[in-house]
Each structure stands twice: as structure tokens, then as C-alpha cells.
């Protein structure tokens, strides 16, 4: 009795092994072939502790999607083989003239081809003298060998030809003209002769089990080139959304208007590595992202944008053995296939036709963002004549500049001047544009201008340091060094200087400036080209200028010296006008005049106050 009980116990354990073996095999196969199963499983994988069920056969794959669990429930008879067909579904044009609106591309019909057929089974071998006692060691051996078998199954899934289309589907969010589906059954229609000729078999070595053996075999299509799937997954394009200085990461640049039209597109990482892998182990995200985007094969998916979605059929009912239909879950906002042609750098100050915030895949944004990311995300403290430091930040190179966040009420007065990257800041802008243009020839003008400034303002020892750093041949602005130097300086600065217009009510000028702003906002959406080095220098020069500006209460003598300085700047600007469009210099001058007017106003007001005090 004990013996029989033991046998039953052992057999129960063996049944469990077989059942789990079938489940695990199914999971491995579908996880490596069907994108929806793979993605669902991996969504559940991260951040969860390993379930006991996942530890079977020492292979952690993550939670099984519900569809697989349902299939497992259905497959109760362990003696029956489990046949998994991996089906390639392609939409092909129909010869008839009738349009099939239900098909994703509206082209015609779906063609399904079995590209792999997996057969997993426990083959029962009836022996004449069955073992009365199956020792536990035999189950352990069976289990150990099953582990090895499943490992080789897992590895083989990545070597067979069907892996490439699977990876392409997983990595691409663009519409594809094909999809991979699956079908699980205990019987299957045999292949036709033609199909058989195209298929190749492979049998894994079976694992001996009590009264039988566990076996896995596959028949697969060796050559998938006839389906015209572009399955090159070398360096798939990858859009990085959380780059340094992106709206997503930089709190200073959380622009509601840009978020509207912007849709982050993230392609799954190549090799997971994940990222990372990655894997990654990758070079700087931007360079690799750029590189990948430029290498994106255009011939991959047809340039048709899917806007309709085909209903998803789940496989929850046990009798419904089909997996989902074509998963065309591709959003239509970011599959402009010609986008990568546009990442030629646009001229620095060329007008952009549309003021709408560009998405990541249009208008050469990746490159602009690339440029953008190379600039340090500096944050210049707020009270700088109301000019938001944000505009002095590397956002200057951002085409979304027009959609910068609404300034605080304090700083709205100087909105337009700040928003124009080329004209808002007098000297620094020019220096920046100088650098944006001819690098070397512009530098001499820049240096002369800056040197004059420096000489005239001896009390700004701090800023002279900044300027001197900008005088180096490379302007001295690497990404990090400039950021650090500026931030250190700005932390020390006391910006309770004269040009804090926050507390002064100048009702006229803001209106005027906002009108100007409206005009200019449409003009520079495509400016991608402000150089990061010049921005830092520009910032430094601006700070210097503001710092050394005479206080409001001072008499007009200081103002005249300041105005002479601005005139000098005007000269410098004129000299450099050859490097960029004349329009920009005039804009700068206009801005300058605006500032002067405002300053006059402020001074006049303070002047009257001083006069009144004196009178008293």
C-alpha cells in the first residue's frame, strides 16, 4: 500500500513536471514569436518578484499572459501533443477592385502562412514490465534534462529565421504590412507538398521520462525572403524622450503647448538592453539615437499610415485557439517616414512656416534636439531684468522656443525680447550669432566687443572671468564646464539689481512687446542652430551687462555710459550682420530700442521720485 501510494505520489509529481513542461515550452515559444505575448509578459516582468510558477525549470520568463493560462487550462490531456503554429499574416493587394475597408491598409486580403510548427508532446511508451517504483532520482534526472532541453529551445528560438520578423514587430511602432499570430491545437492539418518542400525539420533530443519521453520538434520555413519582410534589426531607430533638457525632464520647460502636439515615440531597445541593455553600454544616447535614426531603412514598412485598428480577439475561451488579430496599434502621429530626410540642419535663422510645436519626427527635430541636448540645461536665476533665465538656457537652440512656458507675471514684460533667440539679448545674442555663423572670423569681432566691455566694467570681476573663458579658441564651453561655471556664478550673484522690473508697473510696454512676440513666434520654429558655446558666452555677457547696468536711482550720467555701450554693441552687431540675415540685426536693434525705452521710462519715474524726495 505504501509502495502504491509512493508510486501515485511520484506519478503525480511526474504529471506536474509534464504539465509544467508543456506550459513552459508554450510560454517560451510564444514569448519569442508573438509580440503581444512578449510585451504583455515583459510589462509584468519588471518590478515583480519571481513567482513560484516562474521558477520551474530554472528559467524566469516573467508572468504568463492570461491567454496562455487559458490555453493551459484547455490542454488538460497530457498525452495529446501540443501543436503550436506560428502564422505570418500579411496584407496583400487583392486582385479584385473591391476595397476591403476592414483590412488595416484597405488593400485587400490577409494571407496567412505557417512559418513554424512546433510539436511538444509527452510520448507515452507502454512497456511490458512497467516499473513498479519510479525512484525520485529518475524524476530528478528527467527534471534536470528538461531544464537543459528548455534552455536549448530558448536559444534555438533566437536562431531560427522567424525570430527576425518578430524582433522587427517588437521594435517598430510603425505600421507594418505583416504580423505574427499563433494557433495552438492538438491536431493540425498537414502541410501541402509545396509547403513541405519549403520547410525544414529539426528535432530536439527527447528527454527520457517515466513510461515515455518528452520531445520537442519544429518544422520551420528556412527562407522568409519571399515575404519581403525587411527584418534588418541592426540599430533600430530609437527616440530618446528623456534626454537632458527635454520637456519631460527639465521642469523649467514644461510647456503645455508643446506637450499637446508632442508624442514621445520610444522604440524598444535593441537587444533589450536595455537597454540596455543595454544594453546598452551604449554610447551617449543622443549620438546613438541619431545614428540609428539615420540608419533606419526606409524600405521597411510601407509609407501608409494605419489609422484604424482591427479588433483584438483574445484567446480566452479554450475553444478559441487563435491568438489576436493583427495588432496594428500604431499611432498615427509619429510615423512620418520621410522625417529622417529632414534632419538636415536647417539654416540657423531660416523662417519656419508653421508655428506649431514640431513633433519629434518632423522638421528635423531629432537633430535639433540633439543640438539641444548638447547645450547645458542651465537655469539662470529669475530676476534678470525680468528676462527669464530660461531663455538664456540652451533652449535657445530649441525650435519650440516660441512655445516656451508662459512667464511669470514678473517677467512677462520682457517676453518677446527673450523669446527671440537672436535679438533678445544684445551683446550675447550677437556673439552667439557670430558663432553660429562664421566661427573664426566672427570671433575677432566678438572678442573686441567683449574686451571693450570688460575694460569698461572693472567692478564685474566675476563676469570678466566668464568672458575670458569665452575667449578661448573653443570659446571654452564644453557642455559640463560651462554649465558648472555659470551655475556657480549665478548662485553667487545678487540679482536685486536695478533692472528688476517685477515691481514696476509698465503697462504700455508689455503690450507692445507681446505684439512683437506674436509676430516673432512664428519666425523661428525651425531654428536649430544656435551654438551652445555662444549661448554660454551670451549668457555671460548678458549677466555682465545687467550687473553693470546703472541702478535706477542713479542720474542720467550712468545711463549715458550704458547707452554708449549699447551703441558699441550696435556697431559690433552691424559688423557681424554679414554673418546672418540682416533681419536679425534689425530685430536686435529694435529690441535694444525697446529696452532703452523701457529703461527711460523707469528712470524717468525713479527720477521724478528722487526729485520729489529731494524737494522734500
Amino acid at each position: 500500500m505504501d509502495l502504491q501510494g509512493n508510486v501515485h505520489g511520484e506519478y503525480g509529481r511526474f504529471e506536474q513536471i509534464v504539465s509544467q513542461f508543456l506550459s513552459k515550452s508554450l510560454h517560451i515559444i510564444l514569448d519569442s514569436r508573438v509580440p503581444s505575448v512578449h510585451q504583455n509578459g515583459h510589462n509584468l516582468l519588471s518590478g515583480t518578484s519571481v513567482k513560484k510558477s516562474d521558477k520551474w525549470f530554472s528559467l524566469k520568463l516573467g508572468d504568463r499572459p492570461a491567454s496562455l493560462d487559458n490555453l493551459n487550462l484547455w490542454h488538460r490531456n497530457l498525452m495529446e501533443p501540443m501543436i503550436i503554429d506560428i502564422v505570418l499574416v500579411q496584407e496583400v493587394p487583392d486582385s479584385s477592385s473591391v476595397n476591403y475597408p476592414t483590412t488595416t491598409l484597405g488593400l485587400g486580403k490577409y494571407v496567412e502562412t505557417v512559418i513554424e510548427r512546433w510539436v511538444i508532446q509527452y510520448e507515452y511508451i507502454r512497456t511490458v514490465f512497467p516499473h513498479v517504483v519510479e525512484s525520485s532520482s529518475s524524476y530528478k534526472k528527467t527534471y534536470k534534462k528538461s531544464i537543459i532541453l528548455l534552455r536549448s529551445l530558448y536559444a534555438m528560438m533566437r536562431l531560427l529565421p522567424a525570430y527576425r520578423p518578430f524582433r522587427k514587430l517588437c521594435s517598430s511602432t510603425q505600421a507594418s504590412d505583416f504580423d505574427i499570430n499563433y494557433k495552438v491545437s492538438s491536431f493540425s492539418a498537414p502541410f501541402s507538398r509545396e509547403e513541405e518542400e519549403l520547410m525544414k525539420p529539426y528535432n530536439f533530443a527527447s528527454v527520457d521520462a517515466p513510461q515515455g519521453r518528452l520531445s520537442i520538434s519544429v518544422t520551420y520555413r528556412e527562407n522568409l525572403s519571399c515575404f519581403n519582410l525587411d527584418t534588418s534589426i541592426a540599430y533600430p531607430p530609437q527616440i530618446i524622450t528623456d534626454y537632458v533638457g527635454s520637456p519631460a525632464t527639465d521642469p523649467f520647460r514644461a510647456f503645455p503647448s508643446s506637450e499637446k502636439g508632442f508624442r514621445a515615440t520610444s522604440f524598444s531597445l535593441r537587444g533589450g538592453q536595455s537597454p540596455s541593455s543595454t544594453p546598452f553600454q551604449r554610447p551617449h544616447s543622443w549620438t546613438s539615437g541619431l545614428h540609428r535614426m539615420s540608419m533606419q531603412p526606409h524600405g521597411g514598412s510601407p509609407p501608409v499610415h494605419r489609422t484604424s485598428t482591427i479588433p483584438y480577439e483574445s484567446s480566452s475561451p479554450p475553444t478559441d485557439i487563435y491568438g489576436h488579430r493583427i495588432q496594428n496599434y500604431r499611432s498615427s502621429t509619429h510615423h512620418k517616414t520621410n522625417s529622417f530626410d529632414e534632419h538636415q540642419l536647417s539654416p540657423p535663422f531660416s523662417p519656419s512656416p508653421s508655428p506649431s510645436p514640431p513633433t519629434y519626427l518632423s522638421g528635423g527635430n531629432p537633430v535639433k534636439a540633439h543640438r539641444h541636448s548638447e547645450t547645458a540645461p542651465m537655469s539662470i536665476p529669475h530676476p534678470m531684468m525680468g528676462r527669464s533665465p530660461r531663455y538664456l538656457s540652451p533652449n535657445l537652440s530649441d525650435p519650440n522656443r516660441h512655445s516656451l512656458p508662459p512667464l511669470s507675471p514678473k517677467s512677462t514684460k520682457l517676453d518677446p525680447s527673450s523669446q527671440d533667440s537672436t535679438s533678445g539679448i544684445r551683446l550675447p545674442r550677437r556673439s552667439e550669432s557670430l558663432r553660429g555663423g562664421e566661427f573664426h572670423s566672427g570671433m575677432s569681432n566678438l572678442f573686441s566687443g567683449q574686451k571693450v566691455l570688460r575694460d569698461s566694467k572693472d567692478d564685474s570681476g566675476r563676469f570678466s572671468g566668464l568672458l575670458s573663458s569665452s575667449d578661448s579658441p573653443r570659446i571654452g564651453f564644453s557642455r559640463s564646464s560651462s554649465k558648472l561655471s555659470f551655475q556657480d556664478d549665478f548662485d553667487d550673484l545678487d540679482f536685486s539689481g536695478p533692472f528688476i522690473v517685477d515691481d514696476v508697473d509698465t503697462s504700455d510696454s508689455p503690450v507692445r512687446f507681446q505684439n512683437l512676440d506674436g509676430k516673432r513666434s512664428s519666425e523661428f520654429t525651425s531654428q536649430a542652430f544656435s551654438t551652445r558655446k555662444s549661448q554660454d558666452a551670451a549668457v555671460g555677457a548678458l549677466v555682465h551687462m545687467l550687473r553693470t547696468a546703472p541702478p535706477l536711482r542713479q542720474d542720467s550720467s550712468c545711463y549715458s555710459s550704458h547707452s554708449s555701450k549699447t551703441e558699441l554693441e550696435g556697431e559690433v552687431g552691424a559688423a557681424s550682420s554679414g554673418f546672418f540675415l540682416p533681419r536679425k540685426a534689425s530685430d536686435a536693434l529694435e529690441e535694444l530700442r525697446g529696452y532703452k525705452d523701457m529703461k527711460d521710462l523707469l528712470l524717468s519715474k525713479s527720477g521724478t521720485q528722487v526729485v520729489r524726495k529731494e524737494e522734500v
Binding site: S58, K60, K144, S152, Y154, A155, L159, F204
Partner: protein, 218 residues
Amino acid sequence: MNCEVCQLKELELEHFEVREVLRCVLHTIFFHRALGLVRPKDVDLELFDITYVQCGDLDLDKKIEEKIDQFIDRVEKHPNKKNQICLSFYEVKNKQGTWFPKKLERLYWEQWYINLNMVQQLKAHSSKSHHSKVVVDPGESAVEETSIRRAALEASLREVLFQIIEFVNEKKDHVPPIPNLDGISFPYEITIPGSSDSAFGMDMFKRMLQTGHPTMLS
């Protein structure tokens, strides 16, 4: 228990391809021999359109990288054309010897030999540096030859991976019981045969003794 030996198909490759190829092959073998709980990690090769699987064990990754570095150093010092790297799995047994009360003995139960044939890029006027990749005369024929060679190497590498899977599948009986359910589970050793000229012979001799070669008296 006998020692199963697998001589993998020889791969012809250039110096800069060694690292990726060795990583791929070694990790694939380990993936089939690390029978403890692993979370598989897919890795795409950069030079070839091949994806292999890693165990995700950081210690193992580190050790493999160290061995690959050693191998590359050796290849640079001894620019022989053919090189080999050996991965062995063993069991540790206590053996009561007559001279020594207790001795730990390694019983090798599996050995993998990865055979690499270093080739140099054919150049019109080239120095003898075997790891320089500069093509002095980038004619079309040289480029074509490179791409042909690269495609052949990819096919060979794929064959080697299939070979590993086949070997692993066919021979399972010699695998000892799993001592450690975490990570690699079996003690292993990666050696570069001939790394030291004087010890080469001794190394082979020792291994033959330990594996109990039938012609040797144990």
C-alpha cells in the same frame, strides 16, 4: 563518468571580431550549463545579425571578459594563426590518496574547445601587424572580400551555435546532479591552451590523469 569533449567548428576571424565572437560562444555554452535559476538576457551582436542568450550573472560576465582579455593579449603576443580557448566543467571530489590524507580532485566531465583562426585583412602594402585593420587600398575587390568573409563568418558562427545546441541536447547523461541551484551551478574553468609554453605539456598531462583516460592508469 566520462568526459565529453566538443571540438567546435573553427572560425576564421579578424582580431577585432574576437571579443564579440568569444562572448557569443562562451555565453551560449554557459546558458546551457548554468542550470540554476536564471533570467535569460537576449544580446544582439553588433557585428552580426545574431542574437544569443546570456545568463544574466554578473560574476560570470566579468570572468568571461577577463578571459577574453587574456586571450586577446595572448594572441597579440603570439600571433600564431590558430588559437584555442577551452571551457571545462568539473566536479570536485575528495580523494583519499596514499601520500596525502585528503586531496581535492577535479573530475572534468565536459570540455569545450573553441577554435579560432586569426586572419589578417589582405592589403596591397601592409605591415605585419596582424591586428591592424586599415585597408590601404580600399578597392572594390577588398571591400567585397571583406563582406564575403564577414558573411561567411556569420554563417560559421551560426553553425557553431547550432553545434552547441545539438551537442547539449544529445549528450545529457554525463551531466552530474546539480550541486548549486543558483547561477552557474557547476564549477568551471576557462583555459587558453599553450598560454605558457613550459606548462603546456603538464597541463595536458594533468587533465588526462584527472579525466581518467582509458589508457592511463588511475
